[in-house]
Amino acid sequence: MSKIKALIVDDSKIMRSAVKRALDQLMIAEFEYVEAMDGKDALEKFEEEGGIEIMFVDWNMPNMTGVELSKAVREKGDTDHIPIIMVTAEKSMGKVDMALNEGGANEYITKPFTADKMYKTIEEYFDDDGNLLTSSGDEGEEGKSFFKNMLKT
């Protein structure tokens, strides 16, 4: 099984560690982590590192917010296959809507989160062998996301 290259973006080192710890606990796949402390740093690492396969992104960060980062990544083109998971303290439905529809994120997890909540949010992106399923944007729209379904109703 090859490792999935995950970009973890949060201005809090504690939270980056919490996301990594949750992902390791899930055993849903093997991950190789790249960390960034804000959106600007993440965008640079996205370019420099190359091969980022999934992103976990905080919203409220200095220099560039998570939503701005998500939009910038989507605007690069040929990035629709990369799941972007917002991991944030922002909870209002307006913010969720903005992240998913304007920002182009695929999923939304509110802090504090449990490993179980993380599992339920990202399991659809992996096969049983721990490989990332490459999906089109259309499949994402029809996905199982709780928040997306909430926004549709």
């Binding site: 409220n60 922002e90 802090k111």
Partner: protein
């Protein structure tokens, strides 16, 4: 709801205080699994040796500032709950942790007070650590100080409502 209903108020409206109280309890319960109890408004006592997380929920008209005052013992217990080990009180990681807890609290407060007509966004958190700390607001805006107690110890939340500059 009229967004100017907060202009000129001399006390923070009860409906906002109630929502903040609810958010504090929910936030700490979801982080620690233990529900803190809100005591009646209380002074912080003399001074505190601990750490204060500062954050605000703001819009162009008004700013609700939140100060989360956590004594050292409570901060150490919270670090155990949050990361599974005790973080040294004097470390940068402790400031990071309290900042993040403040951020999570502000996210909940922002969503909760939106229901009573205050739509705002969270600022970035800051944290201040020290001895002989007291909470006060020099420009005398409407304030409210709440004390909470739980299995992880006691802590205070001070809120101030001011016009955005």
């Amino acid at each position: 709801m009229d967004k100017h209903y907060l202009n000129g108020v001399t006390e923070i409206p009860d409906k906002i205080v109630g929502r903040v109280k609810e958010s504090v309890i929910n936030t700490f319960e979801s982080i620690t699994g233990k529900r803190p109890e809100c005591l009646e408004e209380a002074d912080m006592g003399q001074t505190m040796h601990g750490i204060i997380g500062n954050i605000a929920v703001f819009n162009p008209d008004h700013t609700l500032s939140l100060m989360l005052a956590i004594p050292k013992e409570t901060a150490l217990a919270l670090s155990n709950e949050f990361v599974g080990m005790e973080i040294p009180f004097e470390s940068d990681d402790m400031g990071d942790l309290i900042g993040e807890i403040s951020n999570i609290l502000a996210g909940d407060v922002a969503a909760n007070i939106e229901k009573v007509g205050f739509r705002g966004q969270s600022s970035l958190p800051t944290a201040t650590r020290g001895s002989d700390l007291t909470l006060f607001m020099p420009s005398k805006p409407p304030t409210k100080k709440l004390k909470f107690e739980g299995e992880n110890g006691e802590f205070w939340v001070n809120m101030a409502l001011s016009e955005s500059s």
